[in-house]
Structures are given as structure tokens and as C-alpha cells.
């Protein structure tokens, strides 16, 4: 072992003697690339920071036009109405139906995707034969990179018809249909993250379970899955974040009616679809314009919170492991 190290050292020093003439050039190019990489990193950081500042600034300016309670409900004739209708002659700015709409598509999508995604992940990384595993993994990656507009288009033209023949929903384009569409892109994501989490479980843990006489299924169910629990939860939360943030699928197949309902078979309007459909038309500097930015700010905050949860989970996952090893 030590001799090997020694010889490789010798080779390296020989090399550096050989290259000594070019040394000055090497240093300057190193510096140049270090500068390039560092400024790229700084620029990205700066852009994200400026983006955040702009979002807060433009979003909070909505309060120059309307009061915070207007974003929750408006009162007509003594009754509270929760409606989003900023282009009406009597504009209403309640974000409540939009948040409910977003959750009504994102939560069912996450539930469906959790069941199928975790199942797929467990099968691929624990039960499939190596050859099958490789091809399934490629297939899953392919699914994860499906353009959402293509998913939306297929659902709009083909799946919506099947769906309404099958369930006879209150409206043909609805939240449940959107949840199915979203699942198509979230299942692969959860499956792939579940696979990663399972593979990160140390081999010794499995061997310990086997040596105690547990079978394959028992080991996976009682040992490997709990050990990978945090990683899998992180994957599910990331999937939920994707479901909230996706725009194209819900814009195309949720129907975009701002009903305040809890029935997943009726049409809903999500936060993202509202921004996408309306930002093009508003004149800058109006209440409507800033209200759209405020919705963007809400989405941004949601994704920050979800990411913090994921970070905490992943930290516990990997941090705990390191501790166990160092002891």
C-alpha cells in the first residue's frame, strides 16, 4: 500500500518537472477558470437574491391598493364572498379559491404518486433483476422528463374523454383529472428518490437482518424501509412541491373555473395557472398586477418551506448515519 503511494508521488513530481516550462501559463489559466467559476456562482446567487427581492417588493405593493383582508374575502351586502375576479367592474381578489384549487390538485396527486412511486422505487431497487432494474430505471427517467405540455395535451384530447365516460364528473375538465396528469410526472420523481434512499441504506443493516433469519420481504418491510424513511419522505415532499408548482398541466386540464369547492370532480383554478393565464394581460402598476405577484410570492414561500423540511429530513437521514459510523 505505502509503496504504491510512493511510486505515484514519484510519477507526479516527474510530471511537474517535465511541465515546468509551462508553469506560468498553467497558473494563469487556473486563476482564470477559478475566476470564471466563482463569478458564475456569485451571479447565480445574486440573480436568485434579486429575484426574491423583486418578488417581495412587487408582491407587497398590492397593499397600496387593497387591504390584507381583501386578499381573503370581499363583502357584498353583508355576506362574505371568497372569489377571485380581478377584471370585474367590482373587482374581487380572494386568493382562497386559488389556494384551495392548488391543494385540491396537489394533494390527490401526491397521494396517488406516493402509492405508486414508493412501490415502483421499492420494486426497482430491491426486487427487480439487475438487467430489468437498468431498463426500468431508464424508462422512469424518461417519464420524469416528459414535457408537461405534452402530458396536458394528451389528457385534454384523449384521457379527459375516457375519464368522463368512466366517472361522469361534474365537469369534464376537473381537479381529479389534473391530479392524474400531475401523477404522471411525480411518480417517476418519487420512485427515483425512493430508489436512492433505499440504496443509501448500508449493506450491513440488511446483512444483520438476514443473519437474524428475516426473509427478503421482511427485511425490506421492517428494516430497510424504516431506515430509508426520511429519504423517502423527502422525495414525497419534493413531489408535493412539484405538484404545487407545475403550471402547464393544470392550466390545460383543470378547467380553470375559480369554484370554491372541495369536490375533486369539479373544475378548479390553481395559483400557477392564474398567474400564467393573467399576467400577460394586466397593465403594470395595477392592483391586479401586484396581486398576481403576491400569489407568486405565496408560491415561492411554499416552496421555500417545503425545501427547508426536505433539508431537515435529509440532514437527519445522513447526519444520523455519520454519527453511527463515527461511534
Amino acid at each position: 500500500m505505502k509503496r504504491d503511494n510512493g511510486s505515484s508521488f514519484a510519477v507526479e513530481s516527474e510530471n511537474s518537472v517535465f511541465r515546468s516550462k509551462k508553469k506560468s501559463f498553467r497558473i494563469s489559466s487556473d486563476l482564470f477558470f477559478a475566476f470564471l467559476v466563482r463569478s458564475a456562482g456569485l451571479l447565480t446567487f445574486l440573480l436568485v437574491f434579486l429575484f426574491f427581492v423583486l418578488m417581495i417588493y412587487q408582491g407587497l405593493r398590492v397593499f397600496e391598493f387593497i387591504s390584507p383582508s381583501d386578499l381573503l374575502f370581499s363583502e357584498t351586502g353583508g355576506t362574505r364572498v371568497y372569489e377571485w375576479y380581478p377584471v370585474s367592474q367590482d373587482p374581487r381578489f380572494s386568493v382562497v379559491p386559488l389556494i384551495v384549487g392548488t391543494l385540491l390538485t396537489a394533494i390527490p396527486a401526491t397521494l396517488i404518486s406516493t402509492i405508486f412511486g414508493v412501490g415502483t422505487g421499492v420494486y426497482i431497487s430491491e426486487f427487480a433483476s439487475p438487467a430489468l432494474r437498468r431498463s426500468l430505471k431508464n424508462l422512469i427517467d424518461l417519464f420524469a422528463s416528459l414535457p408537461t405540455v405534452a402530458v396536458g395535451f394528451i389528457f385534454l384530447t384523449v384521457v379527459a374523454t375516457f375519464f368522463s365516460d368512466l366517472f361522469n364528473p361534474a365537469s369534464r375538465l376537473n381537479a381529479a383529472l389534473s391530479a392524474l396528469g400531475l401523477s404522471l410526472i411525480i411518480i417517476p420523481q418519487i420512485a427515483s428518490l425512493t430508489g436512492d434512499a433505499l440504496r443509501a441504506v448500508p449493506r450491513e443493516t440488511r446483512l444483520a437482518a438476514y443473519s437474524l433469519g428475516a426473509g427478503k420481504w421482511r427485511t425490506v418491510k421492517d428494516v430497510v424501509l424504516p431506515a430509508a424513511g426520511n429519504g423517502i419522505s423527502a422525495g414525497i415532499i419534493l413531489g408535493f412541491g412539484r405538484a404545487i408548482g407545475d403550471t402547464m398541466i393544470v392550466l390545460m386540464i383543470s378547467g380553470n373555473a375559480d369554484n370554491l369547492v372541495l369536490d375533486p370532480f369539479s373544475s378548479v383554478r390553481t395559483m400557477t395557472a392564474t398567474i400564467a393565464a393573467e399576467l400577460g394581460e394586466v397593465s403594470p402598476g395595477t392592483a391586479h398586477f401586484h396581486a398576481l405577484f403576491f400569489i407568486g410570492l405565496l408560491l415561492f414561500l411554499m416552496s421555500i418551506i417545503l425545501n427547508l423540511i426536505v433539508r431537515a429530513l435529509v440532514k437527519r437521514f445522513t447526519g444520523g448515519k455519520k454519527e453511527a459510523r463515527s461511534v
Binding site: 374523454t161 368522463s164 365537469s171 369534464r172 375538465l173 375559480d258
Partner: protein, 282 residues
């Protein structure tokens, strides 16, 4: 940042002005995009020294772009809103409007709804959500499922002003992107009802184009005459939901722009409008 983009855009147009003549930016109504495309193709065949660039996005977007200088011609399928006129005055921009074609807005239902004619009051009742079942207007026992356009659409604004009398569309209205999506949706949803330029709905399977009743007598007028729009009744306004398609320009416009508009108004330009299932001016 926007300002610098704008300067760059000016710089680019400046360059092409010197070498190859003017570039005209046309922006606005989605209803008019395909029609404008045809006009531009025909015009550029005869006059290749001018480049014309077309984008859609809705009438409202067109006017915004015209006022901030990023478009030379706004295609607008409705009248200007008072707020838009105020914005033009605030920026000291003189706007002039040229009507380039006419359009009938038709209401369509799925053939299973079992209705073929409606009065303006019934239309208002349906689209504001007061009439919830086709049975109430003499059709099948089916709940109404409303389809409409986003609020930047000129068709949306026109329909709201002229049929709903300024009232809001029902909250349960499905908002789809573009008239073609409405055709698709209503032909597949037996409860569906939608509105849009008549040209989009002619000869589409599964759809019934509604005849609109004239108030005061028992007549009803269809926006369609065999397989083309009903020119006569739309021009005279006997079909009640007709509108003007307009080009709006700044008064200080370049010569190339008025030449293009001259072509659009010529016999050849108007022939193209009727080929595209719109209604020529004469």
C-alpha cells in the same frame, strides 16, 4: 433591464431600416392572428423590402405593446376600454383606429343539448349562471357547463359588454386558452356551451351554432349562411353579436405601415379575410 432590451430592439430595427427597409411589429388579438398571418404573407410576396412580425397574446396585450412602443400595430377585436384611452392620453400618444374586417360571434352548444335558438336574455342568463339547465330554455334535461376565454381576450370583453351588459361571467366558467380549445371542449362535452368567432365553428362535427332571437319579433338569425358566415346580417347588425376587427396605430406612424394597411383594405386583402371565414367590409 427592460429599458436596455428596448434600446437593443430599437438598435436592431434601426439597422434593418438602413439596409432592407422597415420592420413592422404587429401584436394583439388571438382571433386575428391567423388572418394577419395570411395578410402578411400575401403582402410580403409583393413587397419584400418590409419585414412584418406578428405575435398574438390577446387584444389587451396588443394595446399595452402599442403604448410602450414594442408594437407598431395593435390588432384589437373590440372597442378600446376607457382605461386604455386614459393610458394613451397619459403617455401623450395619439391613436387612430382602422376597421379591417367584421366578425360575428357565435354561440355553440353540443348537439346533445337539444337547443338551436336563444334570445339575448337567455344567453345572459346562461353565461351569468342564472340558468343552470338546458331544460329551462327548451332543451334536454342536462346541466349547463360553461366554457369561455381568459380575460385578456377581446372576445371575452366584447361578449361581457354586449351580451352580459357588463355583468360577470359565472364563476363556474371553464377558462380555456383560445377558441380552438373551445371547439374541442364543446364537441366532446355534451353539457358544453361556448362563444367565439363564427369562422372557428363552421362545419365542425358535434356542434350546433345557435340562432340568436331578435328582440320584439319571433325571428331568429343565424351567423352562418350555408358554409360561410352570414355576411348580410352581420354587416347590417341584424345578427346581434357582431363586432369590428381593428388595427390601432400611433398617429406618428411610418409610411410602411399605412402602405400595409392600404393593402389589407384593398380587394385582395378583403378577399383573404373572406377566405379566412371573416366578413369583408364590402
Amino acid at each position: 433591464m427592460l429599458a436596455s432590451l428596448f434600446v437593443i430592439a430599437l438598435f436592431i430595427t434601426g439597422c434593418s431600416d438602413d439596409r432592407r427597409g422597415a420592420t413592422i411589429y404587429l401584436k394583439g388579438s388571438d382571433t386575428m392572428v391567423n388572418l394577419c398571418q395570411k395578410w402578411v404573407e400575401a403582402y410580403m410576396k409583393r413587397n419584400d423590402s418590409v419585414r412584418i412580425i406578428i405575435t398574438g397574446g390577446g387584444s389587451g396585450n396588443g394595446i399595452t405593446a402599442l403604448l410602450n412602443g414594442s408594437a407598431d400595430i395593435a390588432c384589437v377585436s373590440r372597442e378600446l376600454f376607457p382605461t386604455e384611452i386614459e393610458r394613451a392620453e397619459a403617455t401623450k400618444t395619439q391613436l387612430s383606429t382602422t376597421t379591417v374586417a367584421l366578425d360575428g360571434i357565435s354561440v355553440v352548444v353540443n348537439e346533445k343539448a337539444g337547443i338551436s335558438e336563444l334570445s339575448v336574455d337567455q344567453l345572459k342568463g346562461i353565461f351569468t349562471g342564472k340558468i343552470k339547465n338546458y331544460r329551462e330554455v327548451g332543451g334536454a334535461d342536462l346541466p349547463v357547463s360553461l366554457y369561455g376565454r381568459e380575460s385578456n381576450s377581446g372576445t371575452f370583453a366584447f361578449f361581457r359588454e354586449n351580451i352580459l351588459g357588463g355583468e360577470d361571467f359565472a364563476r363556474s366558467t371553464h377558462v380555456l386558452q383560445g377558441t380552438a380549445a373551445l371547439v374541442e371542449a364543446v364537441s366532446k362535452d355534451k353539457r358544453g356551451i361556448a362563444y367565439g368567432s363564427v369562422g372557428y365553428f363552421i362545419d365542425k362535427p358535434g356542434l350546433v351554432i345557435i340562432r340568436v332571437k331578435t328582440p320584439g319579433n319571433h325571428d331568429s338569425v343565424s351567423p352562418v349562411d350555408s358554409n360561410h358566415p352570414n355576411y348580410h346580417d352581420i354587416r347590417t347588425g341584424r345578427y346581434l353579436i357582431s363586432r369590428k376587427l381593428n388595427f390601432i396605430i400611433r398617429d406618428s406612424s411610418k409610411e410602411a405601415i399605412s402602405d400595409f394597411i392600404g393593402f389589407v383594405l384593398s380587394d385582395e386583402g378583403q378577399k383573404i379575410a373572406s377566405d379566412m371565414k371573416f366578413i369583408p367590409l364590402k
